[in-house]
Symmetry: C3
Subunit: 142 residues, 3 copies
């Protein structure tokens, strides 16, 4: 490894608060990134444990509400055996959902663009009923 | 960051259509990759929202069918509250499963080989009843 | 791509055996890593199919036990349709859980430190009732 140079451009930015649910943020993130290298990978990381990032369908808004319904069905609130309940009934399910979808995504960059499939978009998954803006770190390596 | 050089080799390839279920594709992907660097990381990305990639047990074929059974148990078809149903009962569960397993894997490359554990193999997770060949992007960085 | 230099430092290490459950290993991993570059990304990979890595809440120990409870609720043992049962009732659920949380995490490195959020810690997810020490590969790229 050489410590003299780095192939990584990295910066942190904040999303505005979003309501609980799944939100397409592809365009918003592209605006933050400004320019992309010809070839590379984007690593996007969320610095929180009750929100997540994932890649999924970018066309029908019903998919976003079905995500909310199915994940609530998978990890319901008020499970009787939970101990970590002092931050509200949405908190512990939020932590589990965060680990199910993950706290980072990696997307190839090709010809200066995110090389997503036609139907792929980037989701912010907001699992809390009320949340502040979320902090993300973008690392682009070439 | 230097824009003059890149440490990434990247190319896209297509898998043939696979039936719904979980399929070991380690050898097939290695054939596509041809040569690997001495040290690096492979990032493999699937450009679809109703199929996924994961790493799991490579020995007993029953594990693959149990994956299919358990994920269908977790995210069954015909959940009564779903709205996104016009593409068939397998479509919305496919999107959820894709976000549960994820759309990319990262595998270390050591001594010119994928540094997987003895029992680890790469799975294509095909969540649709009928699907065309899936497009993948391999990015190798050194 | 240049094959003459690499921007990656990579090494393998072994964690001691942990009991079934979720365990904070941030400090232990930092000790293994010794020094970090000013800017980079850490890729941590687990070479097993019945354990996983994830990032989640680092403060309240109840979160760790709730993780165990909820994942057991999601993927219970003794599901009647399973075929891969000869390695014990905890084995096939362990494989599924490993794919749900994933076998690797990526964490940005900024100013020579892991750039985790205030409440984020690294979890070893041990899904087997009895397991040996787990082998991990750390790859740091700059």
């Amino acid at each position: 490894m050489s410590n003299l140079t780095s192939m990584i451009t990295q910066f942190e930015f904040q999303l505005p608060p979003f309501p609980r649910g799944y939100h397409l943020i592809t365009r918003r993130v592209l605006t933050e990134l400004k320019s992309l290298p010809p070839t590379g990978i984007l690593h996007l990381f969320i610095k929180h444990t009750s929100a997540g990032l994932t890649i999924n369908e970018n066309a029908d808004p019903d998919v976003l509400t079905d995500f909310e319904s199915i994940f609530n069905h998978l990890v319901p609130e008020h499970l009787p055996f939970l101990k970590h309940t002092m931050e509200g009934p949405d908190d512990m399910p939020a932590h589990i959902k965060a680990s199910l979808v993950g706290s980072s995504v990696q997307i190839p960059i090709t010809n200066g663009r995110l090389n997503l499939g036609t139907w792929q978009g980037l989701y912010l998954c907001e699992f809390r009923n009320r949340a502040r803006g979320r902090h993300l770190i973008a690392s682009i390596y070439t």
